[in-house]
Subunit: 407 residues, 2 copies
């Protein structure tokens, strides 16, 4: 049984993890920033060192291609993830998938293994979506879900234009995104949730990805004196917002999804004034599209009801919408089988977060491998996956990619 | 039947209302500011013009004393309210009571009426409590509820010291607050609530004032990914805050009080992160002290319950506490009788807001007269009481003060 080099993988995770760490100790590599450039330069140098052909496409996706005289022209197996980060990030999110992809190619080359298909490892642009919107932009464009021109014109939260920033850091390539359609795509990623850690699993065979619906909700009531306004005469926007939060929680208890009110603001926000306005966001997710649609309808109906019962006016604005994705059942079985051969405990998983793999799933059979995140912590410097857990994941990754590349 | 001069009262309300109006049209006279000084100077000049002896006490309360050779030495009847305002205020809150008090003395003098007791009209310092805390500071000190030294050392939201600011604007007097104990205190004030306007009443005989309990509530949960964290593993501080809001509303539905969650903030306040912290305020009021105490206990018990059910930690901090006040039944009957004689529709009222009268009630028989606020709007430029409604109130005020001053 071939194994990846755990020490090398670990060291590279830490080396890349040190890129973009500011004086205050916070790690931040926003898309097309100087820190992102430094991370890209490092990964590109490792790709070249591994003998890969490095290609940057027009949206800045960084691809390392391993092909031989024999397999040139065959549809490749693609692996990859991203190296951009959130603000004050951990070091595993995305990077593990890119570096383990590189590691498995290196391992195969060192062992003299020849695969029937080329293998490409990619680092996709702007997965986190912190600086530019939407998230998973590079893989979306690669999969043909958004035109490259539109994507390059995206204006960031800091007023910059993505295309200009990519050119500035030297990662505006000339190759058309999607220039090659993979035979399969596989992404190794940390779970970013607590399930595998809590239940003691080593490997997640990710067969589905939740659909996501974000909306902004604006409730308009009437600002009145908290002491002099009888309950029956109130139009309390804050109370109505509280009811929506609780309604969502009860609703997903039935549908099996999750719901989160993550942001809120009241106006005028004074101790003794009834809130005239409440603005908040609702994040609804469900692996089942029909259930997600149904929850959205239920919520919409409840908001109408509240307008009557609570004498408020409610408007909503959808800010994000991704349908659930089903990954390839065949690849998931290969993941489970590979884990079994290595004596690792595997379970099927649903990805709660958005992933580059969901975009690639539009153009080829795709799945993901999860490894546990301790306590489920992610997007945080305390994000942690043990060396052994990362190595286990990378080895199963290696096994499945080999199978796919010889198929 | 003697009547006040409605035109003069009206004009003075508008004249004082123009003081402290900024270039943007917003009216603001915070305690001991230059705008407050301008308002005080105007009122003091009218007091002098009316032949009153103007006295400023050590906490800056501005008092106009009408006494004659015959009644000097008798315990006076005191009337009054305040002329400090909130930010972007209306023109009636407080000012109506001060100017109608001055108006009724002028009317009595012009009519040659002699009362058995002196009449004092006062404008108390810092009723609104916007710049300095607590609110109703001047009347509290006058009634002996707080030492003058402590009050003068109060540091404002802008870092200023009240005593220094009063000296700066020339309103740090030398007379001891409470230097004279009134035989009775009566305050005319706008309702600041919607009841009288909605129900068509002219005169409110205010026999009680709600007790007020403010607390800050801090809920500590766990920030986790909104997509990857199963419902059963969440500790959602925002959801717990929503439950508290709804619990309070249901609770006061039984106790007959009012409850308001007027402010809120989540941390980290991101769309896709479960709130780890929720900070909000609870404003509880009830005219019945036992009910108010009971509601506080119920809420405290519910917060303990939530710590278990929602896996959160909750701390609270009391930021304001005033027990309910019962006003003088005899004066309330006089108000109702005077309204009846004038063909005005009167009802008993509970003051939902805090008032200077609640402080004076500590040292003498006290009551208030309310006049309607259109739509209940107050602390807002749209605050409005019709000329007729204000005049009606001032006439009943005159009648009752005459009775009290001849008693």
């Amino acid at each position: 049984m071939t194994n990846i080099n755990g020490k090398r993988l670990r060291e590279r995770i830490h080396t890349l993890g040190r890129v973009g760490v500011a004086a205050d100790g916070r790690r931040t590599r926003l898309t097309a920033s100087d820190e992102d450039k430094a991370g890209r330069d490092l990964v590109a140098s490792w790709m070249k060192e591994a003998g890969l052909r490095v290609v940057v496409d027009q949206i800045g996706n960084l691809l390392g291609i391993w092909e031989t005289e024999e397999n040139r022209g065959e549809a490749p197996v693609m692996v990859g993830s991203h190296i951009d980060t959130v603000i004050n990030a951990g070091q595993y999110d995305g990077c593990l998938g890119v570096l383990a992809g590189l590691e498995l190619i290196l391992t195969l080359r060192e062992q003299g293994v020849r695969t029937k298909r080329p293998i490409i490892v990619g680092a996709f642009t702007n997965e986190e979506g912190v600086r530019y919107s939407p998230d998973m932009l590079g893989s979306l464009v690669y999969a043909g879900g958004m035109s490259c021109g539109e994507a390059l014109a995206t204006v960031g939260t800091d007023g910059t234009v993505l295309g200009e920033e990519l050119a500035r850091i030297g990662y505006a390539g000339t190759v058309r995104p999607g220039f090659v359609t993979p035979a399969a795509f596989l992404e190794l990623h940390i779970e970013q949730g607590p399930i595998m850690d809590a239940e003691g699993y080593d490997i997640g065979a990710v067969d589905r990805l939740q659909g996501i619906r974000w909306q902004k909700v604006h409730i308009e009531g009437a600002a009145n004196h908290a002491g002099t306004t009888p309950i029956r005469m109130r139009a309390d926007a804050g109370l109505a917002a509280a009811k929506v939060n609780i309604f969502c929680r009860e609703m997903v208890g039935k549908s099996g999804g999750v719901a989160t009110v993550g942001t809120i603001a009241f106006k005028p926000n004074a101790v003794n004034v009834i809130p005239s306005q409440a603005d908040f966001t609702v994040d609804l997710r469900n692996p089942d599209k029909a259930m997600l649609d149904h929850d959205e309808e239920l919520l919409s109906g409840y908001l109408k009801e509240l307008e009557e019962t609570d004498k408020v006016k409610i408007t909503t604005q959808r800010i994000s919408c991704f349908d659930p994705v089903s990954f390839d059942e065949g690849i998931c079985r290969k993941i489970e089988a590979a884990a079994g051969r290595r004596g690792l405990k595997a379970r099927r998983m649903v990805s709660g977060a958005g992933q580059d793999a969901q975009m690639l799933a539009r153009i080829c059979p795709t799945a993901m491998i999860f490894v546990p995140s301790v306590k489920g912590i992610s997007h945080n410097p305390q994000e942690f996956t043990s060396d052994q857990a990362a190595e286990n994941g990378a080895n199963v990754f290696l096994d499945v990619v080999c199978e796919l590349a010889n198929n």
